[in-house]
């Protein structure tokens, strides 16, 4: 996993609440057995005017010019600004894989669905929760300033606006450490292999039916 320490990047605003993982990456693309290549189909049903299928050449498909990510001024965005309950719905990790593949490294929203939130950290994406007033302010800022960039600093847990305003956020210290260092959490957990083994042995004796 890539480290995430600081990111200075262009912001794309997706002004909707309850963006679900079916919208982030529609099911036909979940048939892939790989982790990569989902970027061209991120938000497929909103980005294109036709129905996408795996294996199609996306460069030939008609684009929906209205959709925010198709507007030239948001090309190359690395930060996605959104509303409440982003990532609700299915547990598909294809959703963060698609966001990452497209180029997003940070998401800023009012709230995120639990499983999606978790999946982001496993893939080096930082989901940032800010109060509704800060989110409203950011939407207004991005709307008024084409090319608006934000600084996201995970070490300090701050989002810095171009006008100098600072928006603090917080992340679990364990998750923060993992992201800052790019740690693989399986490796971390396996440091406790002896504890896991001991726990398992005790359990097997006390509740043998769980191991039948």
């Amino acid at each position: 996993m890539d480290k995430f320490i600081r990111l200075e990047g262009l912001v794309a605003p997706l002004d909707r609440a309850n963006v679900d993982t079916d919208a982030i990456i529609p099911k036909q693309f979940l048939k892939s057995i790989k982790r990569s290549g989902f970027g061209p189909n991120l938000f497929d049903e909103w980005r294109y005017l036709d129905v996408g299928e795996p294996g199609r050449d996306n460069s030939q498909r008609p684009l929906n010019d209205q959709f925010v990510l198709n507007q030239p001024r948001f090309m190359g965005a690395q930060i996605l600004l959104t509303r409440q309950n982003f990532g609700c719905g299915s547990s598909r990790e294809h959703a963060p894989w698609a966001l990452l593949d497209f180029g997003f490294r940070a998401l800023i929203g009012e709230s995120f669905a639990d499983i999606f939130y978790n999946n982001c950290f496993k893939n080096g994406i930082l989901p940032i929760v800010l109060p509704a007033a800060d989110i409203d302010g950011l939407f207004a800022l991005v709307e008024a300033n084409p090319g608006c960039r934000l600084l996201v600093d995970l070490e300090q847990q701050l989002v810095v606006r171009p006008d100098g305003q600072v928006l603090p956020f917080s992340v679990d210290s364990f998750r923060r450490e993992c992201l800052l260092n790019g740690w693989d959490d399986i490796g971390l957990s396996l440091r406790h292999a002896d504890l896991i083994r001991a726990f398992e042995e005790k359990r097997r004796v006390e509740k043998p039916w769980l191991f039948a």
């Binding site: 309850n18 099911k27 129905v51 719905g89 990790e93 639990d114 364990f174 998750r175 399986i186 504890l195």
Partner: protein, 468 residues
Amino acid sequence: MSQTLYEKLWLDHVVHQEADGTALIYIDRHLVHEVTSPQAFEGLKLAGRKPWRVSSIVATADHNTPTDHWDRGIEDPVSRLQVDTLDANVHEVGALAYFPFKDPRQGIVHVVGPEIGATLPGMSVVCGDSHTSTHGAFACLAQGIGTSEVEHVLATQCLLQKKSKTMLLRVNGKLAKGVAAKDLALAIIGRIGTAGGTGYAMEFAGSAIRGLSMEGRMTLCNMAIEAGARLGLVAVDEVTIDYLRGRPFAPSDAQWEQAVAAWRGLRSDADARFDGVVEMRAEDIRPQVTWGTSPEMVVAVDACVPDPANEQDPVRREGWERALRYMGLRPNVPIREIRLDKIFIGSCTNSRIEDLRAAAAVANGRKVAESIKLALVVPGSGLVKQQAESEGLDRIFRAAGFEWRQPGCSMCLAMNADRLDAGERCASTSNRNFEGRQGGGGRTHLVSPEMAAAAAIAGHFCDVSEWL
């Protein structure tokens, strides 16, 4: 100190805890299906790691499998590759039980686990699938995880997480005739919203919940995730124990007695404190129909499509307007006047034997309306299908004009050939009415099995309680 059921389950599974509260939670049961596992098995192999305890694994193919023409196999090559990959991985690694495509016990993973007794009270259950919350009906710490976590569980038999807050959903009273567990679930989501349970473990309690069968409790816990909760819970009682007795993977003899004694303690203490409490009265709940593109966009069948003009919050109002555009509906239209093209009875929410019995009771001796293009009944598993056939339910459905299919996820998410075409409108017993969920441009209304069957017969929504 008194504890909630969730706190008891949590404590029983903590292997180790970091200073910030992040804990290693031991996993008893790992359910695996073809969509979210290939990258996890691959990651494991690439890192040169071995699975920790393969006897925790129960695997089946469900999302991609076709529901008819099984003689032709899986015709879509991309789907076939995914199912074959599961096959290869399970054969290489091993499992407690594996029900591949066409096995008589194959089915939706959340139907299969409980019916074979592989889901037991007090277990921690994970699956790379959000509807793993279903298994919480058995007082399990059951939750959906992502693919990286699937790999983490394969490698370590543990999950890294922090304790959730607790919410109590207390429903007292008795559900009226024609009102199902699905209606209760939808009414709860309508009340608290799709983010209402975010960060919470949601326990369902009260006399209405105790009055539900295991099937009904599973429907309710299945939908807990649609209320934002990562897991749903129901305490163990006689209904739980009766359901499990004699199931193939449930304990037997002396071990059964020992297990039952332990299971009886799996309930919240009388004076346990929850971080949030919501109370509802079963009598207030009417059959529900969703009108929009989120499960919280739901009303009673006798209501009308709401008018966004009446919504104060601008973000919500815009969401409603967008949903109505997508759904092709005008404000203030009575729900009963909404006409349908297709009917889907199935999914891990409502494809168990009791769901099929309820739908068949409505369909019995009646005919699907001429205007309905397709009415599908897809049993949740091969065993549900067998049981239904032994009761003659398949004949009732067929005689009424429904198609009786092979088990699987089917039109719940349309990864196989069963889907809506753009603009088609469906009464569906599944759990998500998101844009495109059942096929690009398809319009989904979530309902109970009896409401879906009644809509099939009438061609439009109607209040099934008037039929019974």
